[in-house]
Symmetry: C2
Subunit: 294 residues, 2 copies
């Protein structure tokens, strides 16, 4: 039992499970969300509803899990909000840009609030089980304050240093690697299929030998079976993350030829109406380019 008062912002599919994990660990939770339904669900589990966003920042710690840079900037990087804050630390667990992390770090420091970047690996059901892998970075005192909350939400915290944006760079790298694995399997399955190999046989061998693990097995099956629905992670979010990698590379002059290929493939997928599909649907681009049936 950690027993802190925690403000929680952003009760999407991931945030709901993370907030529930914090409640189960014995914290008092003040929740805020743009739409009211998820708030009611958390209140039913023992959380209190925050009347205003400012109330959340009156808690001992704030955890936020918003969709993207824009949502974080609009809602949380508000000097008026931060100037009245009592929270000692803010854990931003969203996948955001390196530039936004640097901006957020500066603004929080200015207002005497610790800022920890703690993006996560795992789907909503993993979040609900409190079994996320968490990539964390920030000042030591802020991280110490954050540790019991991170332990409540994740099975393991991976540390990336004292500047918050380090963790965002690591998370952006992970998502770029997932997208690259999908694209490479799409290319491999397409070329193998045209030479008589059943893609499901290929993926079974790959995941049974050199490429075990959830990414090759999960996305490999989706690619081989051309199963792009239901969307576990929507294609536009994949493009967002590939663009985060390209922007990170542009900031430090690091050419990323695979990321450039991925960007064009995701745009191609959107142009052909696959915006509501899982990002595995980037495989449909490979097939269309090769004149293969969808």
């Amino acid at each position: 039992m950690t027993g802190m008062t925690v403000g929680f912002v952003g009760l999407g599919a991931m945030g709901q499970g993370m907030a529930a994990s914090l409640l189960r660990a014995g914290n008092r939770l003040l929740v805020w969300n743009r739409s009211p339904e998820p708030v009611a669900a958390l209140v039913a589990q023992g959380a209190d509803a925050a009347g205003r966003l400012a109330d959340v920042f009156a808690a001992e710690a704030v955890v936020s899990m918003l969709a993207d840079d824009q949502a974080v900037e609009q809602l949380l990087l508000d000097p008026e909000l931060l100037v009245g804050a009592k929270a000692a630390v803010h854990l931003n667990m969203a996948t955001v840009s390196i530039a936004l992390a640097e901006q957020a770090e500066a603004l929080h420091t200015e207002h005497g609030i610790g800022y920890v970047a703690a993006p996560v690996l795992g789907r909503p059901q993993v979040a609900a089980a409190g079994e996320l892998n968490i990539l964390a970075a920030g000042e030591e005192t802020a991280l110490t304050k954050a540790a019991p909350l991170l332990s409540a939400m994740g099975r393991h915290t991976w540390h990336f240093g004292t500047r918050p944006h380090h963790a965002n760079a690591a998370k952006i790298s992970v998502n770029f690697l997932i997208a690259s694995a999908i694209e490479s399997m799409a290319e491999a399955c397409s070329v193998a299929e045209t030479h008589g190999v059943r893609p499901t046989d290929l993926v079974e061998m790959l995941t049974g030998t050199l490429f075990p693990g959830p990414i090759y097995a999960g996305y490999g099956a989706m690619v081989a079976e051309r199963r792009y629905e239901p969307a576990g992670f929507r294609l536009p979010l994949g493009l967002k993350d590939v663009n985060l990698a390209l922007t990170a590379g542009a900031a430090t002059n690091v050419p990323l030829p695979f990321a450039s290929v991925l960007r064009d493939a995701f745009l191609d997928a959107l142009a052909h109406g696959d915006g509501d599909k899982d990002w595995a649907a980037v495989a449909a681009v490979t097939r269309r380019r090769a004149g293969l049936p969808r």
Copy 2:
């Protein structure tokens, strides 16, 4: 104990271990190699040296493990050799092109010899232990004849159909996926490093979460530590295999944008003198492009 008389051609680093596995399983072995030293090593283990290549084809079965298309064409796709052959089946275990597999299949069929393509996954020490993963394809009668030999050399045989080239297409796909994993880790490590992340921390997290297995762990460590020697698999062999993928794609009009990126990166590495390094040295290209120290 299988107890067949087996001719074996090609005692390179892989072939030596595979031939030794066949001996251990109780087969009588007639070995032939272009250079004499490895022959002596196998004779010391109980094999007989074949005087001429034709003697090898007088055995009940032939197993070959040559370096590339050129070696197979020069040595084995010789109508004079095959017309006098007594062997019921030839297992070609090299990583060769789809076109060569089709040509070899036709020529063997013409001479009444079964032809099985059985390229392998695994390093020399895995071959020596008889623990390879074998990707096999061919006619059922030929495969049945080959089965005890494959069992002696590998821990598992993955089947890809009745046309030999199916197995070559699968193997080419595997090597393309390995090269893609190396390139994507090189890009991820470079961009993360420029934003303050230690590449070894990134790879430790990746392999401890979503990307377990020997490829991400082994090549990830080499990329993160910039350790490209000793060469487990030399860079020109990697380029050969990427070109096999591109050629396979060209034959059936399948654009492979990742493979095209890889081709240029491997050429770039060769142009900068890394031809004796492991193919993980393609990561040095990513770093050079970004102006990072080697």
